[in-house]
Symmetry: C2
Subunit: 348 residues, 2 copies
């Protein structure tokens, strides 16, 4: 991608305003932490890995608000900033992991001055940023090895450059496959209610000159039945110790359908998406969003006023339905609990 989804430029967090895509490529310059919090809340920036980077840059915005040299007050301020950022969205663990890593800098340097800590925090934030870039490219290579020439693939939501700094998780696999000369087609599920597939994935893949066909979410099954889907690649927002993976609503549905049709279903997610403190997917908090998202889209209102709505933003795919989890250290397969542990020990 030519434009990073998120970057730190002249003391502000610069993000693509994804609510304007695909019609306009506009940026939001977040100079204050409240602006960034709002942007996260209304999904101007979204995608688990991008939220991790956003959170770490958010701490840098918080730094700007602190005056003085008192270390105790500084730590208190940073912790408050982290707590505030943590309230923006509940499901993507990358956000919490990034905040944990930023707070760890304070713990690791108890004797450091405020001035030194400022530098260390900035360094850590950029590490998280750079780690995303390299991690996505590594996952891309591991995932691309799973794709055979001539296949037709499917994806849901947007696990692309727009969900990371600049390359993507599930879509990074497609980019890497294309870079290695493989030919393939992609079906993008539109991903109601907010249509990230139609708005973002279709936009990204068209720009990357990848053969993409848009479908409504409820059309995936009939394509699978027709034998037109060879593999499915999805991102994740949080993965439990047993491999259960929370991702955008609709992912679980695709995984069940894939199993019924004998189609391999892959999750593509970096280490920062794993939450080993959580034994199974049952413990992952699922964000429920406003009913207006389901009643229509934007100004268009489809449903009658007064109808009740259920609007979970995520669902959990059981590890039994996942053929492999593509990480920056390779593809983890069943038995997940054991193999996730092993990969983490190797990787850290």
């Amino acid at each position: 991608m030519n434009y990073p989804t998120i970057s730190w430029t002249k003391g502000c967090v610069r993000i693509i305003d994804q609510t304007k895509l695909p019609h306009k490529l506009e940026y939001i310059n977040c100079r204050h932490i409240q602006t960034l919090w709002d942007a996260i809340k209304r999904l101007s920036v979204r995608g688990a890995p991008a939220l991790g980077v956003a959170a770490s840059f958010g701490v840098l915005l918080g730094l700007k608000e602190f005056k003085g040299q008192d270390r105790e007050a500084f730590d208190k301020h940073i912790n408050k900033v982290c707590d505030y950022i943590a309230t923006s969205r509940p499901t993507a663990v990358n956000l919490f992991n990034a905040l944990r890593d930023m707070k760890q800098v304070l713990k690791d340097h108890l004797q450091a001055s405020v001035a030194v800590l400022r530098e260390l925090l900035e360094k850590k934030a950029f590490e998280i940023y750079e780690l995303d870039r390299t991690t996505c490219r590594k996952m891309g290579k591991y995932g691309a090895a799973l794709i055979k020439n001539g296949q037709t693939l499917m994806t849901v939501c947007n696990a692309g450059a727009l969900a990371t700094v600049d390359y993507g998780t599930a879509l990074g696999v497609f980019y890497s496959a294309k870079e290695s000369g493989k030919k393939f087609k992609v079906y993008a599920c539109e991903t109601r209610p907010l249509l990230q597939g139609a708005r973002l994935t279709a936009w990204e893949l068209l720009r990357a000159k990848i053969d993409v066909t848009l479908i409504c979410d409820n059309m995936a099954a009939t394509l699978m039945k027709q034998g037109k889907v060879d593999a499915i690649f999805a991102g994740a927002d949080r993965i439990a110790a047993n491999g259960d993976a929370a991702n955008k609503i609709g992912t679980y549905s695709l995984a069940v359908l894939a199993k019924h049709h004998g189609i391999p279903f892959y999750i593509v997610a970096p280490f920062s998406t794993f939450d080993l403190n959580i034994p199974t997917g049952k413990q992952i908090p699922i964000e429920e969003r406003d009913k207006s998202e389901v009643l229509g889209f934007g100004a268009f209102q489809a449903a009658p006023k007064g109808v009740k709505v259920y609007n979970p933003a995520f669902d959990v795919t059981d590890h039994q339905l996942i053929k492999g989890i593509v990480t920056e250290k390779g593809v983890i397969t069943s038995p997940y609990t054991k193999n996730i542990q092993k990969t983490f020990q190797k990787g850290r």
Copy 2:
């Protein structure tokens, strides 16, 4: 329902314009056959049983255009009218069955005068209309017997009063259950791309004071996983001799998900929906509609221009996934080929 979806009033076919729902209850008075054809094509009137009634009333509109007493010319004209109506939509067999029944009137009365035939055709059209009303109520009773007090049900698209003359197939089951005093809740899948669930089913069930919650299609699986769905009821547009059932896109997806979660999945459809000339669902023609329906909704455009789209309006649910087909002669269960034959012999 207080208002019939379709009726014959003073020489014109009066239909609710369903493209205006749920925001406005407006009628279209079709005085000419072209007006009716257009209304069918753009889904102002839709739903397999309603299309059967619309087709038979369409023939009455065609009658108005014929002058003279020449029987041969009359037959030619009526056949032309039927052929024209048949081009409006390809999947719902009720439409073709109604036209076949109307043409049969000509065959059964080869010696009758044009004046007599006019009366006979009108009589047949009203028979088809009345048959829909009584049939829906019979199916409702058989279906309601499958519902236990306190259950939560799910449906897709609109198989309600708006898909028939005034009661519904799948939703007729809910109306009958309510009339018999049962308490239950319903999840309505919004049914992209044209959102018949959000626009029509939500509107109907709210009016009928049935506890309805709207979801996006991709949320059905997570509800099933949570144990919140006890049974699924859907309509059908054409059922093959082996029980394979074509219905609105997304139905097959629900049926597969229901099987995975051990939830009974029922089709509710009258005899007029069966096409015993077709051995399996593979031979059912599936209408593909314009890409604009998937790119957004109404004036709202979600996807980038130039993206390819796949937009099948229907899918086929294999009979193995269907727990029972609720008809006006009772609930048909597996083995379907044999039991469908048996029910038809009994019913005719």
